[in-house]
C-alpha cells in the first residue's frame, strides 16, 4: 500500500464553491501525494470539474483553503464572513434577552449591563479574529504568486551576483552574463506558482484555438512567461511534440488538421511544456474513441514516469479510473462520499452511492451482463441524518467514508467479516 510518510503535494481543505444558491462543491477535503494519480469520479453535475477548476484558480472559491507545496494558493472568505454574521446575530439575540430581563426586573439591570459589555467584548474579539483571517486569506489568495516570483528573483539575483564577482574584469564575459541575467530575471518575475499546476481539458476541439498553429499553442505558456529566445522555444516545442508522440512537422499545422486523439496530444503537450508538478486532467478521454482512449492513457502513464508528474484525474468511466489511479475519491452532489486506494475501493465499496456506481459499469461479458443487477441509490431512503450528523471518517486506514456513527459501526462490521 502507499507510503504514509509520502509528501503531500496538494491539500484541499473544506473546499466550498457556491454559484449563487447552487452549492456546486460543498466542503470537500482531500490530499494528493507526490507522484500519485488521484482519481475523482461521480456523475455529471456532482462538482468534480468544479473542484479541478477551483484548484487551478479559474474560480474564486467561496470558502476553504487549498495548499500547494505547503503554500496556500487559494483561500475563501465565506466561512469567516459567515462566522462573523452568526456571532453578530447571536450577540444581538443575547443582548435583546438581557434588555427584556432588565425591563422586567430593574434590580438585575447592573448585572445585565455587565454581561452585555462582556458579550460585546467577546463579539469584537471574534470579529477581529475572523477579520484577521479574512485579511490573511485575501492576501494569500492574491499574493501567493508574487511571493513565489519574489523568491525566484532573489535566487536569480544571488546567483548572478556570485557569477559576476567571479567574472571579475572580463568585460566580454560580463556583458554576456548581464544579458543572460536580464533574461532570467524577466522569466523569474513573470513566473507564477500556479504554472506548476496545469490542466488538460475535456474537449480537444473546443480547447484549442483554431487560428493558432500548434507551435503557437504549445509555446504560449513560455511566451507569457517572458521567454523571447525563438530557437530555445522551438527546440522545447519539438522536444515536447516528440514526447507526446507527434512529429516536428506537426508544429506548423493548425488544430483542424488533426484527428481527435492527436488534438488531445496537443492539449497534453501544451500543459506539459511548463514542466508542472501537478496535472489536472479533466475527462481527457471522454470525447475520444475507445481505441484512441487507450493511446492517451498510455501516453499519460509514460509522461508520468518520465516527468514525475502528479495527476488529478477526473473522469466518469470507472474502468479507466480504476486502471489509471492510485487513489480514488467518489463525489456525490458536491460532497466527497468515499475515498480509498483504487483496489480497496473496488474490493470493498462501503458507501451506497459507490456501490450503485460500481453496479452500473458495463462489462464486456454478455453472460454476466444478462444477470447484472443495478443498485439504485436513493439518499433519502438510504440515510437517516436527522439526529446523527455525518462526516468524513476513516473506517480502516486509508479508507474514508462520509457517514455517521451508526453507519460507521456497520461499515466496520462489514469489513470485519
Amino acid at each position: 500500500m502507499e507510503d504514509k510518510n509520502q509528501e503531500v503535494l496538494l491539500r484541499v481543505e473544506n473546499l466550498c464553491q457556491y454559484f449563487g444558491p447552487t452549492k456546486a462543491v460543498d466542503g470537500v477535503s482531500f490530499d494528493i501525494k507526490k507522484g500519485e494519480v488521484f482519481g475523482l469520479v461521480g456523475e455529471s453535475g456532482c462538482g468534480k470539474t468544479t473542484t479541478g477548476r477551483s484548484i487551478i484558480k479559474i474560480y474564486d472559491i467561496t470558502s476553504g483553503n487549498i495548499y500547494f507545496e505547503n503554500q496556500r494558493i487559494c483561500a475563501g472568505t465565506g466561512s469567516y464572513k459567515l462566522a462573523i454574521e452568526n456571532a453578530k446575530a447571536e450577540a444581538k439575540k443575547a443582548v435583546k434577552e438581557l434588555d427584556e430581563d432588565s425591563k422586567k426586573n430593574p434590580s438585575n439591570a447592573d448585572a445585565n449591563n455587565k454581561k452585555k459589555a462582556e458579550i460585546k467584548a467577546n463579539l469584537d474579539k471574534t470579529i477581529a479574529e475572523n477579520k484577521a483571517q479574512i485579511k490573511s486569506a485575501v492576501f494569500d489568495h492574491k499574493n501567493c504568486d508574487k511571493e513565489y516570483s519574489k523568491k525566484l528573483v532573489a535566487e536569480v539575483n544571488e546567483r548572478y551576483k556570485k557569477a559576476m564577482a567571479e567574472a571579475g574584469n572580463d568585460s566580454a564575459k560580463l556583458a554576456e552574463l548581464k544579458k543572460k541575467y536580464k533574461d532570467e530575471l524577466r522569466v523569474a518575475k513573470n513566473t507564477r506558482l500556479i504554472t506548476k499546476i496545469q490542466m488538460i481539458f475535456q474537449d480537444p476541439i473546443a480547447s484549442l484555438n483554431p487560428r493558432m498553429t500548434v507551435r503557437e499553442i504549445i509555446a504560449e505558456g513560455l511566451v507569457i512567461n517572458g521567454i523571447r529566445d525563438k530557437e530555445f522555444i522551438d527546440e522545447k516545442v519539438y522536444e515536447i511534440l516528440e514526447m507526446v508522440g507527434l512529429v516536428r512537422e506537426h508544429a506548423g499545422r493548425y488544430p483542424h488538421e488533426f484527428s481527435g486523439g492527436q488534438r488531445q496530444r496537443i492539449g497534453i503537450a501544451r500543459s506539459v511544456i511548463m514542466r508542472p508538478d501537478l496535472l489536472i486532467a479533466d475527462e481527457p478521454i471522454s470525447a475520444l474513441d475507445v481505441s484512441i482512449q487507450a493511446q492517451v492513457i498510455n501516453l499519460l502513464n509514460d509522461l508520468r514516469e518520465k516527468l514525475g508528474l502528479t495527476i488529478l484525474f477526473i473522469a466518469h468511466d470507472l474502468s479507466v479510473v480504476k486502471y489509471f489511479s492510485d487513489r480514488i475519491g467518489v463525489m456525490y452532489f458536491g460532497n466527497m462520499v468515499e475515498l480509498a486506494s483504487s483496489d480497496e475501493l473496488f474490493a470493498h465499496p462501503l458507501h451506497p452511492y459507490t456501490r450503485s456506481l460500481l453496479s452500473a459499469i458495463p462489462l464486456p461479458d454478455p453472460d454476466a451482463e444478462k444477470n447484472r443487477v443495478r443498485i439504485t441509490y436513493n439518499p433519502i431512503a438510504e440515510h437517516d441524518y436527522t439526529v446523527d450528523k455525518p462526516s468524513m471518517r476513516e473506517v480502516v486506514p486509508g479508507h474514508f467514508v462520509y457517514c455517521n456513527d451508526a453507519e460507521e459501526a456497520r461499515y466496520r462490521e462489514e469489513l470485519g467479516k
Binding site: 484512441i292 468511466d317 452500473a360 459499469i361 458495463p362 462489462l363 454478455p366
Partner: protein, 722 residues
C-alpha cells in the same frame, strides 16, 4: 427467422473537395424482428452513415453507389421521397447521438413530442383509405375467380355490402371518437386547472368553465352508456351555473369553492368512466344499422348491443362471407403457388442466360419478361409483404445497370490510374518532392457483378423453393382472420383523428413510460431545463411517438455518464420487449453492447470485418481488429499496460488496397496489403474477414489480455459470482 430489414451490398461515398470519400464499402446485414443488432466501430468507420442511409437522411454530397435496403416489400434506396416520408419516423425511427443538438432549444418539449403525431395523422388517414380499397379489390377478384364466373353478381353484392357497412361503421365511429377525444381533453384540462390552482398560477376560472360547457356538449353521443349520459347532463347544468359566480377577469390568489372543487373532481371521474366504458364494436353495429335495425343502446348497454349485432352479423352475412373469403384466399394462394412452380424453371434458365454473354438491351429485355412473370407468383393477399419477390424487378435492373456501367467505367479508371502513376513516377525520377498520392484505382470486379445478377435470381429461387416446401402448412383460416383484422384496423385508422389534447395525453403517457417524473409539469418546459439523461429520454419519447417497428440508436449514451448510461440502456431494452421493437444499436464502445445486443457487426473503414452473436464476439473473437478493440479497453481487473491500437484509421479518400486494418495490425501478413480478405465463415452465426482464417495462414494466438479476460469471465459465471 423473420427478417424485418435487410441491407445488401450497400455502398455510400461522399464527394468532398479532397476527393471521393468511400464511407461505406459493400456491407450486408439482416435485422430480425424483435432483436438487437449492434454496429461497433471507431468514428469514421461508416456506422452512422449506414443508419442514415436506412432513413434516407444522408447529406447532400452523398452518392449511393449501389446496394439495397429492403423493408416491407420495398427497396428504401429506390423509392420516392413521398414514400420514404411515410416510413421515416413512423416505421423506422432514430435516437440521435447528442440530445442537446437534436432538440429544438426554443420549442417546449411537449410540442416537440406531439409534433410528429399531429403532422403525420392526416397523411396516415388517407393512406389507410387507399390500402383498404386496394386490398378489397384484390380480395374481390380472387373470390370471384374461386367461385367461378356465375357467382360474380353475388360476390360483387357481398363485397359492396362489406364495404358499405365498413364505411358506415366509420361514420358512426367518427363522432364517437370525437366525443372520446373531447372527454380526454376535458380531463386533461381540468387536471391542468387543478394543478394551476395548487401551484398558485392564477388561472382564469370563468373562461375555463365556459370552455368546459362547450366541450361537455361535444361529449354527448348516442353510444354513451345511460348512467354516464344522465350524469353528463347534470354536470353540464352545474357547470353553467357555477361559471357565473366567478369574476370575468383573471385574479390574484384564486381559490376554488368547495362546490366547484367537487364538480371538477366529479368531472374528472366521469370522464374517466366514459373513456373506460366498453367500446361499441362499430364494425358489427355498422352492419346492424345498414340492415335497418335499431342500434340505440338505450336500456341495453354497449356490451349487449355488441353481442346482438355480432349474432346478427354472423348469421346473415359474415359466416357466408368468410366461407367465400377463405375460398378466395385458397384460390389466390394456390394460384400463386402454381405460378411459383412454373417460374422455377424459368429462373433456372435465367441463371444460365446471365452466365453467358449478352448486350445491355438484351439483358434488359430478358429481365423485363422475367420480372413481368413474377407479380403473378406473388400471393397478393399476404399482409406482410415479402421483400425479395416485391423488389425483384428493381434489384435485377440495378444489378444489370451496375454491370454495364462498370464495363464502361473500368477502362477509364484504369487509364486514369496509369496516367497519374506515370506522372508521379516521372516527378519522383526528376528528384522532385511529391506530396500527393495517387488515388487507388477503384475498378469493379466484372465477374462479381455478373454473379450479383445471378444472385438476385438465386435469391428468389431459394425463397420460392422454401415456400413451395412449406405450402402444406398453409392456414387459410388464420389468413382470413388476418385479412378481416387488417380491414378493421384500416377502417378505424381512417377515422382516427388525433386532436391536440389527445396528442398531449399520449405524450404525457410516453413521458411517464420513459421515466420522466411529473410529466404534466415538465410537458411545458424547454430542453435547457432538463439534465443530459432526461433530455435523452425525451429524444427516446419522440422516437417512440409514432410506434415504430425499427428503432435506430446512434450512440445514445456516449454523452452520458455511467449511471445514466445504465438507466438508458435498461430503458431501451425494456421498451424493446414491451413494444416488440427491432433495434439497431450503434456505438464505439464494445463494453456497452454486451447486454444489449443479440448480434454484433464490427465495422472498420466502411466494411464489416466481423459478424456474429454477442457470445461469438465476446468469447471467441477472430478478427485482429476485434481483438484490438477488446484489449484496448481496460476492465476492472486490468493492470498491465493497455494494448492501444497504434495509428489512426485510414484516409478513406485513398482506401487501402488490401485489408484496411493491415497498417495498424501487428498480425498483418503480406497478402493483407495486397488483397482484400473475403468473409470466412466460422460457424452458422459467426463470420470474419481476415486472411488469418484462411486454411494456409499461420496459426496466430489471440492476445493474452483477451484470453485471460475470457478465462476470468468463464470462471466467474461458473462460480455464479459477479
Amino acid at each position: 427467422m423473420d427478417k424485418i430489414l435487410e441491407v445488401k451490398n450497400l455502398k455510400v461515398s461522399f464527394r468532398t473537395q479532397g476527393g471521393t470519400v468511400k464511407a461505406v464499402r459493400d456491407i450486408s446485414f439482416d435485422l430480425e424482428r424483435g432483436k438487437t443488432l449492434a454496429i461497433v466501430g471507431e468514428s469514421g468507420s461508416g456506422k452512422s452513415v449506414t443508419s442514415k442511409a436506412i432513413l434516407g437522411i444522408l447529406a447532400g454530397n452523398s452518392i449511393i453507389e449501389g446496394g439495397e435496403i429492403l423493408y416491407d416489400g420495398k427497396d428504401l434506396l429506390s423509392i420516392t421521397e413521398d414514400e420514404m416520408y411515410k416510413i421515416r419516423g413512423d416505421k423506422i425511427s432514430m435516437i440521435f447521438q447528442d440530445p442537446l443538438s437534436s432538440l429544438n432549444p426554443i420549442v417546449k418539449i411537449g410540442r416537440q413530442i406531439t409534433e410528429a403525431m399531429l403532422l403525420k395523422n392526416k397523411a396516415n388517414r388517407k393512406e389507410a383509405r387507399n390500402e383498404f380499397n386496394s386490398l378489397l379489390k384484390i380480395l374481390k377478384s380472387n373470390m370471384i375467380a374461386a367461385q367461378g364466373s356465375g357467382s360474380e353478381a353475388e360476390i360483387t353484392e357481398m363485397v359492396k355490402t362489406f364495404d358499405g357497412f365498413a364505411t358506415l361503421s366509420t361514420k358512426l365511429e367518427m363522432p364517437y371518437n370525437d366525443a372520446m377525444a373531447n372527454a380526454e381533453e376535458i380531463k386533461a384540462s381540468v387536471e391542468d386547472l387543478l394543478f394551476m390552482v395548487e401551484k398558485k398560477q392564477n388561472p382564469d376560472v370563468r373562461e375555463k368553465l365556459t370552455d368546459y360547457v362547450l366541450m361537455l356538449q361535444k361529449v354527448q353521443n348516442e353510444f354513451i352508456e345511460d348512467e354516464h349520459a344522465a350524469k353528463l347532463t347534470e354536470l353540464l347544468d352545474k357547470c353553467k351555473k357555477e361559471k357565473d359566480s366567478y369574476p370575468k377577469k383573471a385574479q390574484e390568489n384564486v381559490t376554488l369553492s368547495a362546490s366547484l372543487e367537487k364538480l371538477l373532481n366529479d368531472t374528472v371521474k366521469l370522464m374517466d368512466d366514459i373513456i373506460n366504458q366498453p367500446r361499441p364494436n362499430f364494425f358489427r353495429i355498422g352492419y346492424y344499422k345498414l340492415k335497418g335495425k335499431d342500434c340505440s343502446i338505450k336500456g341495453k348497454g354497449v356490451e349487449k348491443l355488441n353481442e346482438e349485432a355480432l349474432a346478427f352479423l354472423n348469421d346473415n352475412f359474415m359466416n357466408h362471407f368468410l366461407e367465400l373469403e377463405d375460398n378466395g384466399i385458397r384460390y389466390s394462394f394456390e394460384n400463386a403457388l402454381e405460378n411459383k412452380k412454373k417460374l422455377l424453371p424459368k429462373l433456372e434458365g435465367a441463371k444460365k442466360y446471365y452466365e453467358g454473354s449478352f448486350t445491355k438491351a438484351e439483358a434488359k429485355s430478358y429481365a423485363k419478361t422475367l420480372a413481368d412473370l413474377v407479380p403473378a407468383s406473388i400471393d397478393q393477399l399476404e399482409i406482410n409483404k415479402d421483400s425479395v419477390a416485391y423488389t425483384f424487378r428493381t434489384s435485377l435492373n440495378k444489378a444489370i445497370d451496375k454491370y454495364f456501367s462498370a464495363q464502361k467505367t473500368n477502362p477509364k479508371e484504369e487509364a486514369r490510374f496509369a496516367k497519374q502513376s506515370a506522372k508521379r513516377e516521372k516527378l519522383i525520377a526528376k528528384g522532385k518532392n511529391v506530396d500527393w498520392k495517387v488515388v487507388p484505382k477503384s475498378v469493379y470486379d466484372l465477374d462479381e457483378l455478373k454473379n450479383n445478377i445471378i444472385h438476385v435470381v438465386t435469391r428468389l429461387e431459394d425463397k420460392y423453393k422454401a415456400e413451395i416446401a412449406a405450402a402444406e402448412n398453409f392456414d387459410v383460416e388464420a389468413r382470413g382472420i388476418e385479412i378481416v383484422d387488417f380491414f378493421k384496423a384500416k377502417a378505424s385508422q381512417v377515422v382516427y383523428k388525433v386532436t391536440k389534447a389527445m396528442a398531449k395525453e399520449k405524450a404525457i403517457k410516453l413521458m411517464e413510460e420513459v421515466g420522466i417524473h411529473e410529466p404534466r409539469r415538465r410537458y411545458n418546459q424547454y430542453p435547457f431545463e432538463f439534465s443530459g439523461g432526461m433530455r435523452q429520454r425525451i429524444v427516446i419519447a419522440i422516437a417512440l411517438a409514432a410506434n415504430p417497428d425499427i428503432l435506430i440508436c446512434d450512440e445514445p449514451t456516449t454523452a452520458l455518464d455511467v449511471t445514466i448510461q445504465a438507466q438508458i440502456l435498461e430503458l431501451i431494452n425494456q421498451l424493446k420487449v414491451e413494444r416488440n421493437l427491432s433495434v439497431i444499436f450503434i456505438t464505439h464502445d464494445l463494453g456497452v453492447v454486451a447486454n444489449m445486443a443479440d448480434e454484433i457487426a464490427v465495422m472498420y473503414a466502411g466494411k464489416i470485418v466481423e459478424y456474429g452473436t454477442a457470445q461469438d464476439i465476446f468469447y471467441d473473437p477472430r478478427h485482429p481488429y476485434t481483438w484490438a478493440l477488446l484489449s484496448s479497453m481496460p476492465d476492472l481487473d486490468t493492470s498491465d499496460k493497455l494494448d492501444a491500437i497504434p495509428g489512426t484509421p485510414p484516409n478513406m479518400i485513398y482506401p487501402p488496397v488490401g485489408d484496411a486494418f493491415a497498417d495498424r495490425n501487428k498480425y498483418a501478413m503480406k497478402i493483407d496489403f495486397e488483397k482484400q480478405p473475403p468473409m470466412f465463415k466460422i460457424s452458422d452465426t459467426h463470420m470474419a474477414a481476415t486472411w488469418l482464417l484462411h486454411p494456409n495462414a499461420p496459426k496466430v494466438e489471440i492476445p493474452k489480455i483477451i484470453t485471460d479476460r475470457i478465462a476470468r469471465m468463464k470462471q466467474k459465471s461458473a462460480g455464479g459470482e459477479i
